[in-house]
Symmetry: C2
Subunit: 406 residues, 2 copies
């Protein structure tokens, strides 16, 4: 018999009826003889409501107290689910973050899990209890409540699965798996049966809708198979597993896009040591995450430098660079918000040459100009004009043989 | 400078505006140099909403899980108040029951406080923090969340005041103190400046509206002065103190009434040993609380026996006694729901004779028939016909010189 960790998201526990459905699903797994640990999110919308309430008190509410407030959301659903299971005569018990001994650092609002001493969970499992753990929350070494950031319940689930050496961590959500592309813009997109941890990590824009990316790192580190599936159907979803676990290795598993991009170019930057630091240190200090950086050397000891930032930070970053350009005597600074990034991802790429040229050709055939290129072992990303995003995704999806009827 | 514990009830923290007002009041106390510990209830209505929600899952929701659910109410207000104080640049920190080390027994839903190791509160006070403690909740020796029953935040406050050896425990509520009678039926009722612990304990019907009676026992045991006052005005309320603390000793401090009464009489009960046990054991086993018991010996080895029960339990108790009467061969059983209990209470009674006869005379003058009488050291209670309740309260209030303009 297996040890199964099940995590249910906010839409799955949005009201008492849905909690009842979740309870039935858990009971079914338990009745098969499995040991079951359940991790819950807050009811859909509740966390946002609480954040809004805090926002009415202060634009920058105290982070420690905000965590105390937010933690009530998962506390509520955990109590209600345990109560429901008990009313169905199943032995169940809820545990809060500190009771499940989810030890984190002190970074309120975005804490990292340091350790899970799951002794109490183990004891309850030995007594054949169903253990219901409030997700998203932990406590720091001083016993203060912390939360793990947006989607943190996924990380709770995978980390608890790792601590318990669970056989599988099932993530129940309102989508039925990971798709080869966003079905909203690519009707030919299909659900993947399996995807590797690394592909998932590179699929931020597709994957983040179904799974907090940080949880994937945990799953990879401890080699926990994660099953992403819908809580509204019985169908199998997508397994996120080690790439050597016998899964079919597609050359390209998915095509992702990201419109949350903006680009800044510094023209004719003096090409001297230390100049990159001068350009990027202030940006990093402002907490702005730079994604791609491209440098083209010109003649005469000068270089052009282009980088991308999240669109929300574009204005601030551009102002910074305008000041910096003056200081370092670059010729000009300009920016562009109307860009997007499209990527193809696949562990199979490692063994296949020609993926990049196939991508470039497919885009060229539609006269889509490539502005920037970056690559990793299992991903190739191109920055293009924003207006071509949907077209580019469909073209690439088809070119790499991902279409449903392809 | 004093150490002051302030408790704010549900109506005082019913929304963000009121929480802001509470924060201002706390800040004022803090600015005078006092050390301040605040105990909070849940927002008015929230606890009932949560109980209703649990009631939709099961008619008998699991008590452990119900406590986990209910505890979110005080957690929410504590976080919001601490956040508000921080936004006003006051050093504040919230503590939940287990963080404040409120140790209770395992009686979920009505737990008793065993111990408060207030180390963390002490440390925070030494750093000149305002400590905001979630009322109503504690944890048992295994770290499970418990709650202290209806009005339990009062008990939290007094118990924490006792643990900290506070100078005073201020209970902020929506009434401005303890009255000599219910102002709704006795317009001449006035607010008492002071009342003794024992009087308060005997004033259930008057006192319970402003203070959980169990908290008074705590206050008496540890001799903590309790100041019951309104959170909506600056006026002094009522001090609940030791009777030897120099307070003016009125012969009678208050007149209370209780319509939640019903009476059952067994006629011509064989007067033999063990008969009372046979009558009352089943009632006790059914969880019905018997208040007054009166036995009149008749001739011929028979006795009449009358007792009162809460009106909600009347039907059940009457059915029981009908069966018992047959078994023990009592002649008849009859009951009466249309009764009420009026009481006069006062520590001064101990040293004054004639209080009882004054009470009986006052009622006789209005032709109010007394059905049953019971007395304690500082209280005399009479059961009368329900329809005379309001008249009796006003007559007694006047007879004992309690009237405002008297």
């Amino acid at each position: 018999m297996a040890l199964i960790v099940q995590k249910y998201g906010g839409t799955s526990v949005a009201n008492l009826d849905r909690i009842q459905n979740v309870a039935k699903r858990i009971a079914k797994t338990y009745d098969k003889g499995h040991a079951v640990v359940v991790i819950l999110s807050a009811m859909a919308g509740i966390t946002d409501n609480l954040i809004d309430m805090a926002g009415n008190i202060s634009q920058t509410p105290d982070k420690r107290e905000l965590d105390v407030l937010l933690a009530t959301g998962e506390q509520t659903t955990s109590a209600l689910l345990a109560m429901t299971l008990k009313s169905m005569n199943y032995p169940a018990q809820s545990l809060l973050g500190h009771q499940a001994e989810v030890l984190t650092d002190q970074c309120h609002g975005n804490a990292r899990i340091l350790d899970i001493r799951a002794e109490r969970i183990q004891e309850l499992l030995q007594d054949r209890h169903i253990v219901v753990v409030a997700g998203f929350q932990g406590c720091d070494p001083n016993g203060n409540i912390t939360t793990l950031g947006r989607g943190g319940s996924d990380t709770s689930a995978v980390a608890i699965a790792a601590a318990l050496k669970a056989d599988v961590c099932e993530i129940y959500t309102d989508v039925d798996g990971v798709y080869t592309a966003d079905p909203n813009i690519c009707p030919q997109a299909r659900k993947l049966d399996a995807v590797s941890y690394d592909e998932m990590l590179n699929m931020a824009s597709l994957g983040a809708k179904v799974l907090q990316i940080r949880s994937v790192g945990f799953a990879k580190k401890y080699n926990i198979p994660v099953h992403v599936r819908s809580s509204f159907s019985e169908e199998e979803g997508t397994m996120v597993v080690d790439e050597n676990s016998g899964m079919e290795r597609l050359v390209v598993s998915g095509v992702t896009h990201d419109k949350n991009q903006a680009r800044i170019t510094l023209k004719k930057v003096p090409d001297i040591p230390g100049i990159a630091a001068e350009i990027f240190t202030p940006v990093a200090n402002a907490g702005i995450v730079v994604d791609m950086i491209i440098q083209n050397t010109r003649a005469e000891g000068q270089t052009d430098l282009t980088f991308t930032v999240p669109r929300a930070d574009f204005k601030q970053a551009l102002e910074m660079q305008t000041a910096i350009a003056k200081k370092i005597q670059a010729e000009d600074v300009f920016g562009d918000e109307k860009i997007a990034k499209v990527s193809v991802i696949g562990v199979g790429m490692k063994d296949h040459s020609g993926v990049a040229s196939k991508m470039f050709n497919a885009l060229a055939k539609e006269s889509i100009n490539i502005m920037m290129i970056s690559t990793s072992e299992i991903r190739i990303s191109c920055v293009i004009e924003e207006k071509y995003t949907e077209l580019a995704v469909r073209v690439l999806h088809s070119a790499f043989g991902l279409d449903k009827n392809g």
